[in-house]
């Protein structure tokens, strides 16, 4: 009882313990913010990664594989599979409007409908009318809310949905168009709340796309260039994609990369054109063969409740059946033993990165945990000084019958109280900072030119954060325990003071 009374009195009548509580507050807030941001970074990374590539993907880079329609049919017939989408993953050079030099970047050829079924890409189209502002757009400054823009935004939303733009003068005839990431080329300024303000509204403008097709052996053929309209822009939140990825209709990219279905000259294993004498002239003529269309990747989305490893195993089986059924017709002939053929989950696709982030989180927590030990020593130093200051009071308490354990309990309960106050304040501070970390970061940037979060390094254009209640509880309990640990030695010192000397202490 007396411990509670004195703890309350010491807490409300002394400045020094408030310094100890402040140390606990700062350390608790620091660890919680780091864990929340890093945890949020990993969570966002995982969600973004999954959103873009589905649950499992089958890939055969560069040259790709044929008869993918058959593969997709087989996949979608399986009860574990929600949808499958064939795509081409390639690279290209894109010259955007008013841009002096072309830029290289990732180029995906996608079929809009199947791609949307797997990765919901239509939800990521940025330029489409909004009925209400985004939760972060507290001022309602988003262009997409503007009624004057509504019809225009509806139009470009339709273009983006189809990855096509109507030909001038013939609205029923559409031509393939590009959908580029919102951060590509710096045409959009990011305002507070994550709102984008376009310097130049890209949809409707034209860009020049150049690709280098490869033959079956990976040798480059002549560069293919096309001037294509921009249909819309997408936003995933993953900076790497938002700044570097361009989407194009699958059939258009197949044609540019010579991966479409067509008659082509036959080449031998050495790459030489196979010829045959012309029956009429006797002159050697190239032998023509019909090549089926190819893609490099098939994205697979699992039915609800199906785990990725389960789906991965099933997809391997389905692919093996597909390869057997099309034996001799797939060029190059993929099979389940081909090392170039990969059946991966989205996690294993990003495995290196995810592992690195997880290790980095562990390392950061370890380092900040070590730094937080300063709180323990600060509490220890402050309590040591306070115990010295209160030597006479300790003698008085012993004289009126307080036991050693009771005196130790007084200082430990005092440490507990300081830990609780510090941890709760630290938790509140962390909650406020984590909840407003992007506005704070933007303010720091405006006031001091301080850019801590560079999206080119950290992948995401906004600082992700994820205040997990369990993690928060662990950190808060850790903060309280560190304060109690800091109070332990001074408490023992107080308990083992000689009461007679304490009473004579000057």
């Amino acid at each position: 009882m007396y411990q509670l009374l004195l703890t309350f009195k010491y807490l409300t009548h002394k400045v020094m313990p408030l310094l100890a509580a402040l140390a606990v507050t700062l350390c608790t807030a620091m660890v919680l913010i780091v864990w929340s941001v890093m945890g949020g970074f990993l969570t966002t990374f995982l969600q973004s990664g999954k959103t873009l590539i589905g649950d499992v993907l089958i890939s055969y880079p560069t040259t790709g594989f044929a008869h993918y329609d058959d593969l997709c049919r087989r996949l979608e017939a399986d009860p574990m599979v929600e949808a499958a989408a064939p795509i081409i993953e390639s690279f290209g050079m894109l010259q955007l409007p008013l841009s002096g030099t072309p830029r290289t970047g990732m180029l995906w050829g996608v079929d809009p409908d199947s791609f949307d079924r797997v990765v919901k890409f239509r939800d990521s189209l940025w330029w489409q009318p909004l009925d209400k502002p985004m939760p972060t757009d507290t001022k309602g400054i988003d262009l997409r809310l503007d009624p004057d823009w509504k019809s225009r935004l509806k139009e470009v939303r339709d273009w983006g949905n189809a990855l096509a733009v109507p030909r001038e003068g013939s609205p029923n005839d559409a031509r393939a168009a590009l959908v580029v990431g919102v951060m590509m080329g710096g045409y959009n300024e990011r305002l507070s709340g994550g709102v984008l303000d376009p310097y130049i509204f890209l949809p409707g403008r034209k860009a020049t796309l150049s690709v280098v097709p490869l033959d079956g052996r990976g040798t480059s053929l002549s560069v293919q260039s096309r001037i294509l309209p921009i249909a819309n822009q997408f936003h995933t939140g993953l900076f790497e994609l938002d700044a570097n990825l361009t989407l194009l209709r699958l059939d258009e990219l197949q044609a540019m990369l010579y991966m479409d279905e067509a008659e082509r000259v036959q080449r031998d294993a050495a790459g030489n054109i196979v010829t045959r004498p012309d029956p009429e002239t006797g002159q050697p003529r190239p032998v023509m063969i019909r090549n089926p269309a190819r893609v490099t990747t098939v994205l697979v989305k699992a039915k609800p409740g199906i785990t990725e490893p389960t789906l991965q195993a099933r997809v391997r089986e389905i692919y093996a059946e597909f390869a057997r059924a099309n034996q001799g017709q797939i060029s190059p002939p993929p099979d389940s033993e081909d090392k170039n053929l990969q059946v991966q989950t989205w996690k294993s696709r990003h495995g290196t990165m995810i592992g690195a982030i997880e290790k980095e989180i562990g390392l950061m927590l370890f380092l900040f945990g070590i730094i937080s030990l300063t709180a323990v020593f600060l509490v220890l130093a402050i309590f040591w000084a306070m115990v010295s200051e209160k030597t006479k009071d300790i003698g008085v308490l012993r004289a009126i019958g307080a036991s050693r354990r009771g005196v130790a309990g007084l200082w430990l309960s005092y440490g507990l109280a300081i830990g609780l106050v510090g941890a709760i304040l630290g938790g509140i501070a962390a909650l406020l900072i984590v909840g407003n970390i992007n506005p704070i970061h933007e303010w720091l940037g405006r006031q001091f030119g301080l850019v801590v979060w560079d999206p080119q390094i950290y992948y995401f254009s906004r600082i992700p954060s994820d205040m997990d209640p369990i993690r928060a509880m662990i950190v808060l309990v850790g903060g309280v325990l560190s304060s109690v640990a800091g109070a332990l030695i001074p408490a023992l010192k107080a308990a083992y003071m000689d009461p007679v000397r304490s009473l004579r202490f000057e």
Binding site: Y2, L6, L397, A399, I400, G406, D498
Partner: protein, 238 residues
Amino acid sequence: MTTAAPPSAQTIVSVSNLHKTYRLGRVDVPVLRGVSLDVRRGEWLAIRGASGSGKSTLLHLIGGLDRPDRGAGSTIRFRDSVLSDLRAGDLDQYRATNVGFVFQFYHLLPELTVLQNVTIASMVRDGLGHKSSAATDKAKALLTTFGLGERLRHRPAELSGGERQRVAIARALINDPDVLLADEPTGNLDRATGDKILDALAKVRAERGQTMIMVTHDAEVASRADRVVNLTDGRIVG
């Protein structure tokens, strides 16, 4: 006045051949050298001596704040208990229940109010079984008796020396101890205020039949007691 009362059923504290030595650096300094005395129930005993004579040490030993030298046959008996045989927890309980200390410099806890400074002794004794309202009522009654009924919410820094000492006496009495141990209770006060404190102690003695052991260097203060023993160089000399 006598130097030692014979042990009897009325004896509440009995000190026998008490030795206490402190070590200062490498030197052993004997403070008490074979002190023996008995204190009767309800008696007001004054232990008089010069500074350094060992009188405060004797009081601390009787109060269970310190232990006598081992192996010298030193014994302090409280009723039927030998204090040196008590375990630390029992000695804590002895201090909380059977004795009450009054110090020269009051030793009030500065963060607490007058009322809390008195009730804290009750809290220490009762632990989790503390009954707050009963203790508060009792503390208020005691403080009112000592003329501090209007100062309950004040802090020690807002009181005069005499008032502080009266609060200390109330704290010492809150648990109805068998023995009140007063260490130079007027030593930090002017004569008039000191006399008022002695009057207060005399009133306590008269009203409660309180056994009191008071140490002082002042002969006039000692003369208020029933009996005076003189301590010189760690020995009772008459």
